[in-house]
Assembly symmetry: C2
Homo-oligomer: 495 residues x 2
């Protein structure tokens, strides 16, 4: 499929449009409500030439919709602040709630088209972006998002006429900038660039709709019709009973996994005496403090993910680590059960909200791995959902790693006897009692199920760029020092 193959002379007469439009508009309104009720989230992307009518198209489209159900985003160059995060973050942040719509006037495709020329992306950077777009869209579609991508195409001659027309009137003159004319002069180069972009991002699950946009009525008909058809199809699918066969765990050959231990095989006997512990703790904290300053100055982000059994000592471990850090350069992010706005979006959305800036450290107290542990075991997500989560998480961490983050994931391992001792200690000590709940006792009964899930998790998400480190935590002192050593070593290696 190529833009040049489009017949830009396509037209629709005013009469034909009048005849059609009422019906289309009404249908749009009805389907939007239906999609809301069924909680189908919809994302519409409008890309295209300057003056191809993207803005007007969006205005016309939403005129038929309930304004409570959508948001429109106009995408320009990222702000200075946005540049300090992974580039996709600003798009993840704009994900609509299930049932709602997001409409993009330009989108992430800006970053592989216009930005390609304007920001002199390296070849590698461009390749990464294309790959991450593919992953991003696949994740959205897998999660039930309806994603429609439109490209509005006009000829060089038509664009020139439209610019000239806008410049004629005082009220619209400001809409045409020097950069627009610059793009116009290099129409041929951009045409190739757009064609390449469309060609590389056109999977069956999220295909482009190319729109002949010379005639606005024709374009409207094409866009409206496509939205209607897509909604009808999505609604029909949603109304069918879901398949109940286990889909199997999704893995990608392009993500090589490292070998990982099984929990049952971990030797939990290592200990550390109070004296050597104090000394080593002080030494490590001092070293980490220096390294934190270097990370900050070199703008290297770091992500430390903590998982482990209840009462394994995550809190105390994090505290010893955090104590070495400058308060302005790190944040502890506690993860508990998702709130409704989090539950009603892709499960990774909430983590994109709390990524560290470059140069900062984020310490996650529990993480996105909840998907394949508690959500899996408690049945908060479907088999299909957790079975593909390993792969999604590997890709998510891949994005962070390519962005430049140092990623370490700690599993704090204790045995059942040790957990029981700690639970009882909490129960019997008034100022610790708030730390123990009935849920902790219930989870404890599911130890074998969790152990199986954790082994699977370690095996499926242990990558070279985001390794799991099992921390023997029956002895808290040993565990804290081991964690510090690992963090220090990872930073030293990077520097």
């Amino acid at each position: 499929m190529s833009l040049e193959e489009l017949d830009l002379s396509c037209k629709l007469t005013a009469e034909a449009w009048d005849e059609l439009s009422d019906q289309l508009k009404k249908r749009l309104g009805v389907l939007q409500q239906r999609a809301r009720t069924l909680k189908i989230p919809t994302i519409l992307i409008f890309e295209g030439w300057g003056a191809s009518g993207k803005g007007e198209m969006i205005s016309r489209l939403i005129a038929n919709l309930d304004p409570r159900g959508y948001a429109v985003y106009s995408i320009t160059a990222p702000s200075e602040d946005e540049r300090r995060y992974p580039w996709l973050r600003r798009f993840w942040q704009k994900l609509p709630l299930y049932g709602d719509m997001a409409i993009f006037d330009r989108s992430w495709y800006r970053e592989v088209s216009l930005a390609r020329e304007e920001e002199e992306l390296s070849h590698q950077e461009l390749e990464n972006r294309f790959r991450e777009i593919e992953d991003f869209e696949q994740q959205l579609v897998d999660d039930g998002y309806l994603l429609l991508k439109f490209f509005l195409h006009i000829s060089k001659k038509e664009q020139k006429e439209r610019f000239a027309h806008l410049e004629e009137k005082k009220a619209t003159r400001w809409r045409v900038t020097g950069r627009d004319w610059e793009h116009h002069r290099h129409y041929g180069r951009y045409l190739k660039l757009f064609d390449d972009m469309i060609d590389r991002t056109n999977p069956v699950t999220a295909p482009w709709t190319l729109v002949e946009a010379t005639d606005r009525r024709y374009a409207m008909k094409k866009v409206f019709t496509r939205v209607i058809e897509a909604w009808e199809q999505a609604i029909a699918q949603r109304e069918q009973p879901a398949s109940t066969t286990f889909p199997g765990i999704r893995t990608s050959p392009d993500i090589p996994l490292e070998p990982s231990p099984r929990l049952a095989e971990i030797d939990l006997s290592p200990t550390l005496e109070e004296g050597p512990y104090r000394k080593e703790l002080e030494r490590c904290q001092k070293r980490l403090e220096e390294l934190h300053g270097l990370l900050y100055r070199k703008r290297i982000p770091m992500i430390l993910a903590y998982e482990g059994w209840d009462a394994a000592g995550k809190g105390g471990n994090i505290k010893r680590l955090a104590r070495a850090l400058d308060a302005r350069g790190y944040q502890v992010v506690p993860i508990s059960a998702p709130t409704p706005p989090e539950k009603n979006r892709h499960y990774l959305w909430r983590f994109w909200q709390v990524l560290p800036r470059d140069g900062h450290i984020a310490i996650f107290d529990r993480t996105w791995y909840g998907r394949v542990m508690v959500e899996h075991i408690e049945g908060f997500c479907t088999e299909e959902q957790w079975a593909r989560a390993y792969d999604e998480i590997n890709r998510f961490e891949g994005v962070l790693s390519r962005w430049g983050a140092i990623i370490l994931k700690f599993w704090l391992q204790i045995d059942q006897d040790e957990q029981l001792r700690r639970f009882q200690d909490r129960q019997n000590t008034p100022e610790k009692r708030y730390k123990i709940t009935d849920e902790d006792w219930r989870n404890r009964e599911k130890w074998p199920a969790y152990e199986k899930a954790v082994d699977e998790m370690l095996a499926r998400t242990n990558t070279s760029y985001a390794p799991w480190i099992v921390v023997e935590s029956n002895d808290k002192r040993y565990a804290r020092i081991k964690t510090l050593h690992e963090v220090i070593q990872a930073i030293e290696q990077r520097l």
Copy 2:
């Protein structure tokens, strides 16, 4: 109270600190947990000279706290994007959840101290900021936030020595900038400026604690002790039973109110025929489209607030208005019951999240007035809370108005018979049925209580800068045209 009166030679010996510190640290940890349990939110502000030890103080303080309960914010100049909103927005956004802590390394006081020199604020702008700080802090304290403000003071000589010391070592040299030295050279001027700032923002409900910061141990003791005392006091207050007498509605003489009609006196007979309606609708939409472009170019924000009876026609009214607007320059913000993150903060917090950028229009479908209507009538907030909400809302809208926003508030008025007709119509029309719920019927039974609340609301929040416009909505066509006329007129007046 003046910085110059502080005795900067205050010291604490290492032995004295050793003796004290364990006890203080332990107490901090215990009280933090207690405050969390009682849902007391805490905000700590650290202001002070460059190199006075703010960062280190924060690090030392939080080393004793559970990292899951706080966030640290380092405040520098606002970003380009942040400048497009009311200046306090970025601080409102950082409000902690009830029970959590926010710690600020510099704060909103940056905007009336450093910014005063660096950004050449006008006298009026500075006065506004001082006033808005006062309101902001009062609102936080009223809502139960514990607000502690520390200023770390050192002498000019001490500052020079500290800068020199930092510059000696390679690892810390980057921390001292040209601007730091520039501030140092004008120490005397900044001293006056800080004194003035402290003097003007030192109410009994949110007083400053001035800290002699030459000796770090002495400073730590003072800060830790103050936090402990404040927590103890807040906890004691929270544990006492709340007073049950009605506090009376809070009003401020500095906010003059305009007369407002009573709902029962509104003449709901005006109608508009289909023919003239179509014609006028088209004319108005065309005019509004032009005006929207002008607002956008002049970067004037606009806030349209819709309230009204269930089935009064808010949705349809908004739709007719939105149709005239460029999709990239406005957003419809539907307000429904607050989510947990919203419920667990000051009730105005959620509205600060969704303010329009300058040049944009935000259309609120229901608003912050829920506080004095549904929350009041259903008992979701206390008498004390809704009784002061009128005043808080007037101040909130005052902030928006001074920022430059055009604010219009519409009350869509219908009578009980008309509502019944519309409810029945919704019930009997399949594609409208999703619009009517049991709750609508229940609310209908409380009509008299709501009417009283709305009359009170109109009377207490009808200001010249954010007027209420009662829209006779028994006839939807009439209502839509009236709203459009009001919006057009308000923009024309401003331009």
